[in-house]
Amino acid sequence: MTAKRRRKRKLFSPIYLTLVLIILYLPILMVIIYSFNSGRTIGAWQGFTTSWYTRLFGNALMADALKNSLILAVLSSALAGIIGTLGAIGLTRSHFRSAGLVETVATLPMMIPELVLGMAYLALFTAIGVKLGMGALILTHTTFCIPYVFINVKSRLIGMDPALEEAARDLGASPMRVLRDITLPLIMPSVVSGMMLSAAMSLDDVVISFFVTSAETTTLPLKVYTGLRSGGTPEINALSTLMLGAIFLAVALSQLLRARSDKKLNSAQ
């Protein structure tokens, strides 16, 4: 009786897990598979081809969108990296009274609906006369990327023994030297990990970008979105697959860096 129940339970977990994974990843898998389909419709497999990828790379508009997306991802994650890191150091190393409030406000954009954020940025930029386009895109992407860096770096700083920085001071290092020699090298994996996440977020943003971009500047996700509205092509599937790959790589790298630096720091204490 109990053995039977145990066997039942033993079967239940893997089946449940498989189901969840299928529901999560089946749609994505479909896109990937049909990006290699020689026919034009999803659901009807007509043979393997890579021609959509070739066409994609031959498409000047696509190349332009790719270039824009990459510039945007690199610049906004770099800016978010600097601002988020400085913010995290400032907030954890100084003990002013409203630190908690500042922190909540700083990470709130992660919770605000993108639609609202996008509209808000558009309203602001129009009101103060910021030209829509690449500049506005970088500004907005940097803003919504900052929390990813901030949270990552902050958790590392909190986990760090404060005596490390004090020991450096004690051995004769000025506060700036401590930042350069001790703090930054130790939090660098978290900074990079946060920047990777930021890049992934920037690479797949549609909603906010939609509001603040101009007609001349388009990014890859926007291209996918407008492409789908006009019917969708296997070319879009191919593009989506490439973006998936890039984002997966960024997230995986981010996780790997975190795990490795956590291990290093913990085993030294």
Binding site: D161, A167, A168, D170, L171, G172, R177, A268, Q269
Partner: protein, 362 residues
Amino acid sequence: MQEVLLSLQHIKKDFGEGEVLSDISLDVHRGEFVTLLGASGCGKTTTLRIISGLETADEGRVLLGGRDMTDLPPEKRPVNTVFQSYALFPHMNVEKNVAYGLRLRGMDKRAIDKRVREMLELVQMSEHAGRMPSQLSGGQRQRIAIARALALEPELLLLDEPLGALDLQLRRQMQVELKRLQKQLGITFIYITHDQEEAVNMSDRIAVMRSGRFEQIGTPEEIYDAPMTRYVAQFIGRSTILTGTVKSVSGDTAVIMDENGSYPVDATRARLVPGKVCELCVRTERMRVSREPVPGFSLPCTVKEARYAGGSVLTYVTMAGGAEAVATGEERMADAAQPGDTVYLCWNPAQAAVIGGASHGA
């Protein structure tokens, strides 16, 4: 008179939740090994941090070799610290950890290498120069932390419970080694611990701290044999404290009476007048029990329990007035008194200390 190296003058510190240090002053001589001893939260770490500059005092001055350091940041003070958590830089190997302070001083590469080699040799870690801190054991990290702090030839080395994380055997070994290093280098040590045995073993002088004040500053012997306060008497070693009233004084001996009976006290070591309240500290290892009444003493008591304590037997007794006491006997367990037996407490009056009385020769 020896030269005063460090002088703390009327230091006060308040973190906003009551005073952590209330007006402490201390002079440390060059070459001395001074221990700040106290329970956790007594302010000993805060005192150390004020000396190193990692914390600033609200009031008072910190002088080193006569120079006022009160307003100097930690990097400008010729003082180095061995941290409780060791605080080795996890991204630098042993050699780079030890070299860090020297590099900041702008020493040339060859001089740094030479100094690092000397330091690693001093702490017997030469063969581990290339290792990362995460590859070292606790005791090895400890040695590197010491080498790193000593590399700068500080006038004063501060040690914040450096042996706290080590197991007992390694602790004893490191105690001996630290003491050897201190003698060999002639550097002044200020050492923090809550372990009274460690303090007694290593220090030239001990400052017993309690809620932000020094209860007593003196040599281990003074602290042990002539405690100034009840707290010191209880914190250092094990003892029974008897409180009574002086009944009579005749020559070198006074007789004290309390609800447990009466006993003699060496009157040469404290100013005793009839009617005065007197607290007497009798160390457990100097307290004896006798089956027969002892002349001069009248302290009958009932045995609660006798326990073997490795080489001696501890007898726990309840005195006539209800107070508890512990005595040491060198007999075997088989000879020990049985629970319920009536015995008599006694001790050598010269070896018991009136709390707050003057120490030997004073």
